[in-house]
């Protein structure tokens, strides 16, 4: 069984591997963090949050200062999907953001007796249900 853990990552309980939800690329052991299986790029934050007032004349411009802030972009090596983004000071070790107890996850789903992908949802509310359903029909939500 595959358990969706983030928008772009599932844990395959049979192989105990992180897998890309978009292209099924293997991203490494589910017992570890998924980041070692990704490609990473250190973005100058000014490329994303572009200055709104003139950076030639002013110090504060709506853009983060690259000497304070870097944006790490994590890509799936299979399809190039940007699966995570992390804002860090330059040189700061990337965060181990997810470490899942795989046997406990398996036991949890065995007890539920459900297919994790089939029952996956984004939460309650009529708007959540109707909008998610509408987006699924055009293939915009997995």
């Amino acid at each position: 069984m595959r358990v969706p853990m983030t928008e772009y990552l599932v844990i395959d309980l049979d192989s105990e591997r992180w897998v890309c939800r978009v292209c099924a690329h293997d991203l490494g052991s589910a017992h570890d963090n998924y980041k070692p299986g990704t490609l990473v790029h250190d973005r100058d934050p000014r490329e994303i949050h572009q200055p709104i007032i003139d950076p030639e004349r002013y110090e504060y411009t709506f853009s983060p200062d690259p000497s304070y802030c870097r944006i790490l972009e994590y890509y799936c090596p299979g399809c190039g999907t940007q699966i995570e983004v992390e804002y860090l000071p330059p040189g700061h070790p990337p965060t181990v953001d997810l470490l899942i107890d795989v046997p406990a996850l398996r036991a949890q789903w065995e007890e539920r007796g459900l297919d994790a992908e089939e029952v996956h949802n984004y939460g309650p509310g009529e708007d959540a249900r109707t909008q998610t359903a509408a987006l699924k029909t055009i293939g915009h939500v997995r």
Partner: protein, 767 residues
Amino acid sequence: MTAVHENPSRVLTPQEQEWVDKFMDETTLFLGPDPEIMRDHGIAPRSDHEELAIAAGVDRLEVERIRKRIAGALDEGYEMCEAQGAAPGAKWGDLTTAIYTASGDVSYLSCHGVIAFSAILHHPIRYIMKYWKDEPTVGINPGDGFIHNDARFGNVHNTDQSMIMPVMRDGAIIAWVAATIHEGENGACEPGGMPSGSETPFDDGLRMSPFKIVESGELRRDLLTFLQHSVRDPKLQLADLKVKITAVRKIMERVDAVIDEVGVDTFVAALRTTVEDVEVEVRRRISELPDGTYRFDQFMDSTLKENILIKFACKITIKGDQMTADLRGTGPEILNRAINSPLCSVKSMFMQAILAFWWPDLPRCTSAMSCIEIISDEGTWADASYDAPMGQSLQASFRGFSAFQALYSRMSFSTPHKYSNVVANWFNQINTFLWGGVTQHGDMVGNLCADLNGMPGGAKPFRDGEDSVSPLFCAMADTAEQEVMEEEVPFMQLVSKRLVRDNMGFGKFNGGMGYEMIVAAEGTPQWGFMTVTSGAKFSSVYGMYGGYGCGTYPLAMVKGTNVYEHIRRDPSKFDLSIEKVMNEQPFEDGRYSTYHMGLQFDIAKDGELYMISQGAGGGYGDPLERLPESVVRDAELGRITQKVAEEIFGVRYDPTNFRLDVEGTEAARQAAREARLRRGRPFAEFCEEFVTPEPPESLHYYGSWGSDTDDITATVFTIDGPERVSAPLAELPIVMIPDRREVRIAELEARVLELEATSGVEVKRLA
């Protein structure tokens, strides 16, 4: 030779212990905050009365009926405060009413208002019960009311003032009712109650430990006068005390009617049962989450006086029905800056996330968080000591909210039954103007604009976040009518609520956008503005699952010119935006400048412009997955520029008619993905190059560097200037930052000496 004299240790007899306790009680010089009370967010053990009442049998339908009636009473009290309150915060809904068990656990909170109070007001009630109940000079009697504001005794922050009254029967306390309002002005070193400039706890304004100000139904005029004398707005202090007393009494009338109807024991059992049921339910919900560890660290870029980087670390571990939040790694407190927060205030914002964004269906009880273990070492900016200033404690506590909000979306993503939607981070800064001075009516005032309530929402996996929708701490809060405010204060918002283009967290679904505000005073003998926000160099909100966070936000000013005069002479100049004013500089005699958003109270001359923008919510998902039609619509509406449409979203369209270029977009997106695969480096290889053993030398950094260390890195200031140290928190020296003006003067003096030495100018040191 050393003689060793061992004193045999022995346990005191009960009689001896009584003597010791009596001696200590009679000779304690100062009853400050009690760590036993302040470190504990658990619910109290069942009292004998509760035990007996529950043992007699609990009818669940009866409990539900009582709860509904209490909820109605609390909502009525809430509406009274909102309708009658004099504080701007009251008018916008920044308040709460609540009922507590006799021990002080929140059993139910008003449906509207600030949920965070469910985690906080048991502290002052426990203090009152422990220290004042049996104190002969105080005591607790029917009709009494206690006031309190100091967060060191349990509060969200010091602008909030509570009126706490006991519900008594036959001389026994069976419950408490309280109303709490964000009053704003509190006599701090700057107007408005949230000073960014406080450098000692004594700059933070009123330091009200819980004390009795209403005695047997009468408001004590002597104490009221003392409070009025201590703040800038004495009328506000009186008016809202009366409003809170009236609201609490109205709630108590309703509660009395319920008690008369169902009996004391049933009422007591109903309050306690609610608290206990919620704790049981919370444990069950925790057990639905996957076991594991989840980490979300944040970095704040300002002390509100200068730029630094300070970490807020948070790791949550789930094991079965146990949840532990570990804050170790968080940066140290800075002993002469306002950003520190007591742990209880940070916990209150954890609660805000829990009851607003995790489990909004639960009754708002102390027990919604009581079973979550929180590990934190005192002495960090998120768990500050008694001696630290806390005027802007929201800087740390709002990070606590963001940590819990972000982590829950991760923890709950896989669960089949959710209690709330998956959502990226809400904006978490108070981007508004605080103000103070003399009004056009001659009154001295100090408070803030309701625009702090215009925080944009985070994106969801199925829709964009809402623009400037509500503050993270109060879903129903209003941004108010600026025109109404302008009748009371001598400044205008020349631009109000105009969205700033490209100001959103980009993603498959975008975070909500924020609007800009431009203000200028006129016709007042004295007026000033201040801002109290971080996030001008390092984004304060991050995105989710490939979405980006918000940008950064400057304070822009035009000084030395009266814009009103310009506009009167040439009305066409009344076409303002931060972008236009700062880039085109239309007022030729003005001085244009930008700053970080920590502006201490700044005297505003007539017509000088102060300009800020609300932030943005976090984006959700890969921006290259956003529907191209949505991107073109954003461009057509002016929400994004063509540059952003192309570079961030990979969308191509004809800018003359906003017609989507389907093939061009497909090709651009394919090229963008291929470019990622080319520039992305394998993680291990990337880390080898990117990760450094310590922060860049130029950065004043505070917190753990990475998460695999027990050491905290800090920059301390010695006789030789800034020096980086790294040690466990308990071994760090006190961190104090020198006055930035003195630093600047020293730099300029050094430069002058250097120039004098090389220029050949003859310098006379004596007059």
